[in-house]
């Protein structure tokens, strides 16, 4: 086990890792606070939604990368987690187009 997990026995008692954890926490907190600020100051529209989605992905990157430690796994594992997410993108695009078609059929 010990030779597989190099981080099992950190030299500095884990102080560097704890620093990263708290830094990630502040990033997540500030991003969420910014989302609130934008929610009440910006007019609703395409730009606002785009900003929200981008900020959500940044938050997801920090949670998955740092908290779930995926950033430090081997490349093959990272890709086997990230690539299947393309299916979600496909489903999202397909069903949003479908939803607009239903709207057109019902209300236009």
């Amino acid at each position: 086990m010990a030779n597989v997990h190099a981080h099992d026995t950190p030299n500095d008692g884990g102080a560097a890792q704890r620093k990263v954890i708290w830094k990630t926490f502040w990033i997540l907190l500030i991003l969420t606070a910014l989302e609130f600020l934008i929610a009440f100051t910006m007019d609703h529209g395409f730009l606002k939604i785009t900003i929200f989605i981008l900020m959500t992905f940044v938050k997801a990157f920090y949670i998955v990368g740092d908290f779930m430690h995926l950033k430090h796994e081997v490349k093959a594992l990272i890709w086997s987690i990230v690539l299947p997410m393309l299916f979600i993108v496909w489903l999202l695009v397909a069903l949003v187009i479908e939803g607009e078609a239903i709207f057109d059929a019902l209300f236009l």
Binding site: G14, H44, F52, M68, A76, I102
Partner: protein, 256 residues
């Protein structure tokens, strides 16, 4: 694992019998990752179905100030979620859900601190941070229970809807929401609220049960005897995933 081979001297690693960890992650961790992928698909299915129905309904076109509840268009979420416990009648849009988000992110931080303490086999700190994580999870579930109760009971005024009963248009005031009628908007809006936040709440609940189990096994010295705190890490992955899902639910259900 490789450690078991050492008892019999120099044995070649068993490539196909668990002697080698594929992708340099242990069996349990790898399976947790693959379970989380399947769970991602389930949550995506729910959120994308929400998008489909959202786009098939008319959006509210007026200004936010003049917004009133109606089942003819999709509501603005910040007008629906504006109640906070003990502050009855005060309009505080999205404040309560913001507090819930903060609680869940914070419990994720204490979880990752427990994992970090586990790497050092620091039992006292694992116990401390697991307790904080359990407390955060319970608080979140409590907040969600309150939010559901408020959503189900509705506002003081209710909403007047027109409906066709036996060929006659009649007006009726409805309060709150359930699976068939909804004072805040189309019934589908309430259905998705119950299903998405309910499914997430179920995950939080099972996460709390797992966390309590981990805490118990840590406190009774189980992981010290085993010589590895990796179980904390595996349950940690699940707990962070629950937090991750909430980040997406928060954006796509409450903000957009």
């Amino acid at each position: 694992m490789a450690a078991t081979a050492s008892s019999t001297g120099t044995v070649e690693p068993k490539y196909w019998l668990g002697g080698i960890e594929p992708l340099k992650a242990s069996y349990g961790k790898l399976m947790m990752w693959f379970f989380l992928i399947s769970d991602t698909f389930t949550f995506s299915g729910l959120l994308i179905a929400y998008a489909l129905v959202r786009f098939s309904y008319p959006a509210y076109t007026g200004t936010p100030d003049e917004f009133v509840f109606s089942n003819l268009y999709w509501p603005i979420p910040e007008k629906v979620y504006e109640a906070v416990p003990f502050l009855h009648g005060v309009s505080l849009p999205l404040v309560f859900v913001g507090i819930m988000t903060f609680i869940l992110i914070f419990s994720s931080v204490t979880m990752v601190l427990a994992v970090e303490a586990g790497h050092r086999k620091d039992r006292a700190n694992v116990e401390k941070y697991m307790l904080w994580t359990i407390l955060g999870g319970l608080t979140f579930i409590g907040c969600q229970a309150w939010e559901w109760a408020h959503f189900i009971h509705g506002t003081d005024e209710g909403t007047v809807i027109r409906e066709l009963v036996n060929g006659q248009w009649v007006e009726r005031t409805i309060f709150g929401a359930n699976l068939v009628e909804n004072q805040y908007g189309p019934p589908a809006f309430a259905d998705f609220f119950f299903f998405i936040t309910g499914f997430h709440g179920t995950h939080v609940t099972s996460g709390i049960v797992l966390n309590i189990l981990i805490f118990y096994r840590t406190a009774t010295g189980f992981y010290d005897r085993r010589g590895s705190y990796e179980m904390v890490e595996k349950v940690g992955l699940y707990w962070h995933f629950v937090d991750l899902v909430w980040v997406f639910v928060f954006t796509f259900f409450y903000l957009v």
